[in-house]
Symmetry: C2
Subunit: 198 residues, 2 copies
């Protein structure tokens, strides 16, 4: 081996990261070798800190540093609308839109018989418990618009509708700024079905 063992070890660990192949790992490793100590150790510290301080919110299962996450702890959120998502990263995506001011509930996955994921493997019992106290008026089912996400949304809708709550689903259609010509048939079909009156 031509590399120093510490460099080889770093390359091996960097390549475990998603989207990082051997070339990117090498580029990052050389950046670390060339950068000043402070910059590089700050990154290592940030990694350790995240693993030490971040866990799941006891209420919504988002990532949190305290007992509950910052969204659950905020007094400015509308507790009457609850948005159900599959993963914490979906919360980050929705928050970036600034179009939603309600609370969230993270399922921790989607129903997937193929992968052996059933209702008991998701935070569905905890969701029903949150709906029991009459605070929530609308549940937005924001699982992904794919087979498993739709199945999960349909399953949840069947459970929640009998509670007398409004159940909604994110709209499917053409991406804004997109092009009819390049839309796939399913998306375009959905956009036609869900056309709005002007």
């Amino acid at each position: 081996m031509e590399s120093a063992p510490a460099i080889q070890k770093l390359l091996d660990e960097l390549e475990r990261m998603p989207g990082i192949g051997p070339k990117s790992a090498q580029r990052i490793a050389y950046w670390m070798l060339n950068s000043d100590r402070g910059t590089v150790l700050r990154l290592a510290d940030a990694i350790v800190e995240v693993k030490n301080t971040v866990h799941f919110c006891s209420r919504c299962f988002n990532y949190a540093e305290g007992e509950v996450c910052e969204i659950c702890a905020s007094s400015r959120r509308n507790a009457a609308i609850l948005c159900v998502v599959s993963e914490p990263r979906d919360i980050a995506a929705i928050e970036r839109t600034a179009a939603f001011s309600g609370l969230y509930h993270v399922l921790g996955g989607v129903l997937s018989p193929m992968d052996g994921v059933g209702p008991d493997d998701l935070h569905i019992a905890e969701l029903l418990q949150r709906l029991a106290d009459d605070t929530v008026e609308e549940v937005v089912l924001a699982t992904n618009p794919n087979v498993e996400g739709e199945t999960t949304a349909a399953y949840l809708a069947r459970l929640i509708k009998p509670l007398g709550l409004k159940v909604t689903r994110l709209a499917s259609g053409l991406p804004v700024g997109g092009d009819l010509e390049f839309a796939d048939e399913v998306t375009l079909g959905r956009a036609i079905e869900s056309r709005r009156a002007l």
Copy 2:
């Protein structure tokens, strides 16, 4: 902010890495949050270890963990051929070819009047010192085939040739597996000039 502060800090630090934008940083951060503690802390340790143990080889200025790098320390390398490169990463590239068994010397850059890099900013004095003991018979100038690399190679050739050593340069030409049609004119022109008898 919707993210926990520790996550936001991690995202900021990840985005400093070369080739990592906000989307990649987020993907990596979520991977770190979801992966088991051991995997993630091993990466943080590898980063710290590289900054603590890796420095420059006292002989060739490659990265090294000991006083000299593994290549300089090896008894299986041919000390009669010295390959001069700009950066340690060039050594890694040449080693991967397994086509060179000599030793290296890292300049630590290339001559660049525009960036204020002159001969005294590179490890040229140390190179000449290494050539003084008559061990080296050939110096391969392996700086990049661009303006600054060629200038640096020409400068070094003028210094080294009077010492009576053989001075060579890496061949320029068509990439193996490449296509005449897609070669740039300069490369194709160089390939024609340097054509070999068959």
